[in-house]
Subunit: 184 residues, 2 copies
Amino acid sequence: MSRLPTTGLIVAAKKRRTPLFKFHVDKSQLDDLFPHLRELQALAVRHGIRDIFQDNGGKYLQLALVTGLKLLASREGNDAVDETGREYELKTLNVDVVTSFTTHHHLNPTILKKYRRVDWVFAIYRGIELEAVYYMPVELLEPFFAKWEAKWLQDHKDINNPKIPMKFVLEHGIKVFPANEAAG
Amino acid sequence: MSRLPTTGLIVAAKKRRTPLFKFHVDKSQLDDLFPHLRELQALAVRHGIRDIFQDNGGKYLQLALVTGLKLLASREGNDAVDETGREYELKTLNVDVVTSFTTHHHLNPTILKKYRRVDWVFAIYRGIELEAVYYMPVELLEPFFAKWEAKWLQDHKDINNPKIPMKFVLEHGIKVFPANEAAG
């Protein structure tokens, strides 16, 4: 084992102790925050979110609470359902990082069929802060679907994350959050 | 627009108010938690994590603080570096949900080259709680790499998330967290 590096990580492994040699102030801050994270995770579980830190879990929780939608766990179905049983596809983006909504790592006719079945809800975050939520009737998205479908039929290859520009959503969607208080 | 559903979401959109009609208790709990989440996100940013709710951001923060590793932002390079400049590939799993570590949505020779360059660190979570961290010298992973490489060379198609079983990591890795206090 002579090629083992002489870092905190491996020295710690050999001495069988935790290699906490640099970040003790930050670690103690995290320890103080952790009870609140446990509370958030418990709240998330009540709304069908298994893990706040994955797949935008913490953001979907906020989105559910703001829109009143119930999140659906199944990978095959759509993402959320309202009190009338109508389902929705949900998409989020972080406007600090990107200006398009991504869709699916392996987009194909099965996914497109699912996408065409329901209206969509788009949530725009800045970092972890929810800035706006837009409702989009599905027929307005058909030009995107048609383009992706044509590409798939030509290449017979799953498409990696085709995108819907935020600009399109801002122009054609109906804003449901935040409320326009002036229009009361 | 007569096909618009008569749900809280759309009624709210038309009346231009927030459709907060069901989850006001949970929403108020989330509002109380939010200052702590902002604090966590600020801490995460100091460790190179742009978003705690995506790609296991909150978990990587905890992993960095526990191992003393510095996280690397670049998508092309490896995931973390120690104080000697040695880089690592990091993988996490939630043992409540899965029993294998996933690797890459589009595994190909470029990714394999990156994987073979450095030692690996595996973190096992139960929900959001970090249960254990294992160090793995990269040569022990070569049987997996060789198998994936052979498959790619045969099919000439990116591999979707080939896995490394947790069982293999528990058997062959070196535990670096939690400390084994008895062994002092």
